[in-house]
């Protein structure tokens, strides 16, 4: 985040503790990472629930966390989008 000019302290950790919370938050498993409310690794048709999330690394390996490059790209994209928003405003 620092490399993208972002503040690491801006990360907010939220515990989703109940099935109702998962439904309300459209939480499909832990960890779910959103930047500006947008999923780093969008899912389709995945049911909400208190479960462990399965990610695929770029080389195809299964992992409990997203590929670091995907995270980095999501940060770049969100920074770019924010920049465009500021320019448009």
């Amino acid at each position: 985040m620092t490399a993208q000019g972002l503040d690491p302290d801006a990360v907010v950790m939220r515990e989703v503790a109940t099935g109702k919370d998962a439904e309300r938050e459209r939480f499909v498993g832990s960890p779910t990472i959103r930047i500006g409310g947008i999923e780093v690794a969008p899912t389709e048709g995945e049911a909400a629930g208190l479960t462990c999330r399965v990610y695929r690394r770029r080389d195809g390996r299964i992992s409990p966390t997203p590929d670091p490059e995907d995270l980095r790209q999501a940060l770049v994209d969100s920074s770019s989008a924010a920049e465009v928003g500021r320019s448009d405003g």
Binding site: T51, C52, V54, Y55, R61
Partner: protein, 171 residues
């Protein structure tokens, strides 16, 4: 259960309809499941162990203890579908519906590996190897423990920290 203890016997239903449990041969009991990324990351390595050690008289038992009420992807039907989709596995996939076996073993995570000798004594407990992200690790701790048991020596390490998702206990 600690290394050196007698492991509780069990007999659980497998996806093929048969019931299985540890016998009078060295056995690796692996608590695992369908939905945990750690279990999935290690899965192929565990199946390779089952293939490689079957000719040496080792029995590998994969046991799913998760609460299917809260985690439908771990239901017996989902287990059967997964094995069928793979065209069969080289190790039986057993359902611990009551979670009594997992509790008896003190399983904490999926995966959590327990290696028993031919007398049913626990000789190794922990992770399959040091890194779920590195297939080259090749379940080295599990293989080392099985080699030691087959040679009649003590595994080193005899215990490691299990790594994975918590067992999903019924509430």
């Amino acid at each position: 259960m600690n290394v050196g203890d007698n492991a509780p016997p069990f007999d659980l239903p497998a996806t093929d309809g048969a019931s299985q449990g540890p016998g009078a041969t060295p056995t690796a009991v692996v608590f695992t499941c369908n939905h945990c990324p750690y279990a999935l990351a290690w899965h192929d390595r565990l199946l390779d162990v089952a293939r490689d050690y079957s000719t040496r008289g080792v029995h590998v038992l994969l046991v799913n203890p998760n609460d299917a009420g809260r985690y439908p992807r771990d239901s017996f039907e989902a287990m059967q579908e997964r094995v069928a989709a793979d065209g069969g596995w080289p190790a039986p996939y057993l359902r611990d519906e009551t979670q009594e076996v997992a509790r008896g073993y003190g399983a904490r995570t999926t995966p959590d590996v327990f290696v028993l000798d031919e007398a049913g004594v626990l000789r190794y407990r922990g992770a399959p190897d040091a890194d779920y992200e590195d297939p080259a690790q090749n379940a080295a701790w599990l293989r080392g423990a099985l080699d030691a048991v087959l040679e009649g020596s003590e595994p080193d390490p005899a215990e490691t920290e299990p790594v994975g998702c918590s067992v999903k206990w019924s509430q």
